[in-house]
Symmetry: C2
Amino acid sequence: MNNYTFIDGSVTAPMGFTANGVCAGVKAATNATQAVAANEPLLPKSGKRDLAIIYCERPCTAAAIFTKNAVKSDTIYVTQEHLQNGVAQAVIVNSGNANACNPDGMDKANAMCRLAAEALQLDENNIIVASTGVIGQALPIEPIAKGVDALKDILSKDGGTNAAEAIMTTDTVKKEWAVQLTLDGKTVTIGGIAKGSGMIHINMGTTLSFVTTDAAISSEMLRAALLEAADVSYNMVSVDGDMSTNDTLAIMASGMAGNTPIITQNEDYKAFVAALTAAFKNVAKKLASDGEGATKLVIAKVNGAKDNLTAKTIAKSVICSSLVKAAMFGADANCGRILCAIGYSGAEVNVKAIDVSYRSSKGEIMVCQNGCGLAFDEDKAKEILLEKEIDILITLGDGNAYAEAYGCDLTYDYVKINGDYRT
Amino acid sequence: MNNYTFIDGSVTAPMGFTANGVCAGVKAATNATQAVAANEPLLPKSGKRDLAIIYCERPCTAAAIFTKNAVKSDTIYVTQEHLQNGVAQAVIVNSGNANACNPDGMDKANAMCRLAAEALQLDENNIIVASTGVIGQALPIEPIAKGVDALKDILSKDGGTNAAEAIMTTDTVKKEWAVQLTLDGKTVTIGGIAKGSGMIHINMGTTLSFVTTDAAISSEMLRAALLEAADVSYNMVSVDGDMSTNDTLAIMASGMAGNTPIITQNEDYKAFVAALTAAFKNVAKKLASDGEGATKLVIAKVNGAKDNLTAKTIAKSVICSSLVKAAMFGADANCGRILCAIGYSGAEVNVKAIDVSYRSSKGEIMVCQNGCGLAFDEDKAKEILLEKEIDILITLGDGNAYAEAYGCDLTYDYVKINGDYRT
């Protein structure tokens, strides 16, 4: 059925794309009273990479979806405008400063596009811009100017991984991937990078994520594919229930694979979406397991729901519960908190038909049957829950719909990281 | 305007009421494989009080409101049935076991009522029953039988405070209060006890709370008063966003104050509600500041909203944000997280008109003006946020509506307490 294969690679895997990331000093300048250390290094000897460009040698069809938060970074408004014609050729993105809730946010977002357009000799309207980091502090533009100047000369096929690094904030691991499939007899590659790892909640393409492909596909179909794939992946991840102001999930397609352009939701479209979905689900798991302070990945899998919406609603409610998350941290096979979270989800459900089990590589144990707590082997349960990847299996007796949601445990380190994020 | 006065006292302050609490050994028996240590002491030398009775010497008008969680303790169904006629004469309540998600939950809830009815020589239908504690483990009835037997002989005016202690779970302080007002020339007293302190979320009379009064007032007016007072107090508290399966807020009125019975929403009703509301708001603050692991009380105060619903929605969203809560723990005057939480609240709001300040006994500092972050004195902000009671002041430019919501910080101890609640 699935004809895709994951390969090593990043956002530069598809034909036509190059990228790189440098340490421009955005974060240092954001925190300094007077912006910009004049001799901030552009390689990460003394700091983290914080500025990336992804570039395509030809104009791409493009689409993006964004946070639903009413408070948005101005970068989002700028990118929305630039994508109205469905064309883009480059992404410029910084970490260390979200450029949100700033009086001059729009100017700065436009300045980033202008800098990238000048350096890459592109139309400013063909630039996608994004930022991530601290909210409400002025974005220092000088380090970005210097960073762009350095980046324009080092964009390369190898640079994708640096770009992945440059968008990290509190992430502890880079998120990059590539997948290949055959469409119309041609090898098509899709690649991507993404960042976590806090302020992540179920609703739209959580976090920043940039995707490239050499498929020939219209911007309308790209947008439809993003929505479809995100719906069961990014839209099912929660770290802390806080929805970001900056979420952007953007895709550019160079068309260089030479397949017959996808302009309807045909079989090729479906194959493309299947590959994209598989990749996004992997990213969703990585985002969750690298959630701020997380020690384990927790997946709520809901079976037997009367419809998809019910299955999703319940899976999300369970994965978002602070009490469930804390119990997972403590490897406590509490069933009451699962039932409680199902109960307040708002979904209509026959409580007396709910079964709950925990599963990991160490085995599976049922803790609730027909809506009632079971006596179970606590030692066995502990052994199962001490693993790094836990499935919470919820079976409803109401139908055949299925959904899964991705989350993590709530730990001391989450509190520590977020107790003083800005310093 | 307000003619009420807080006095020392508890649920036994109003005329007609006695109470007490003992250590029946419910929790120990819940955790033991074989229930009930035969010689479990009934005074708390070796454990916590976990069983209480509140009794009135005459039948009372009564009302209650309950959790909206679809997964409910069977105690709630039993109490709902018993209150259909608007009459009650006693409350029996245990901590240590929630009697929720158990196959025999209904039998046990009825058994508790029967035990209390027999001991107090009342009609079983006049008993309000409630439980709190671990979900999904069988409620041991023998310790409750022994506890009731002990309680029936020690119900007293002084026993209210023991009852308050007996309903505590992870609470670190007892919640009890009494307030007096003059109605119709008569002194009317209202008293109450409540418990926190986790699985507390905005929706209905969070947690267990029992209220008594000697006012003469119909059960319909009691119910209306509960809903009205809870709406701006219990319904505006969040500790962790998890809504309990057992929430019960019940009130009994003995009528012994001799005021003209309140049977419509007249001036006396309004005075009664004002006193009840003031008391509930105090409890709400106590619940929040004694939230699991909490080190400080945080109150989100929203001014200038276009209507009450908008003000409430925003206040709740801010107080529920894990990132805001963690920032309060770290005394970090982050404005981005406040704006972010306003943005995803779902409320319609003019982002460019939002001001945000932090206030405590050490002063006040503005961190956001017109939707944009401000530069501010970090040392001063730290000093303000290191206090034990913090106001987050949010001013919208959209109207005159006001709301406040009560919460706490998110701390290492929350994670610790909930990482292994059952042991």
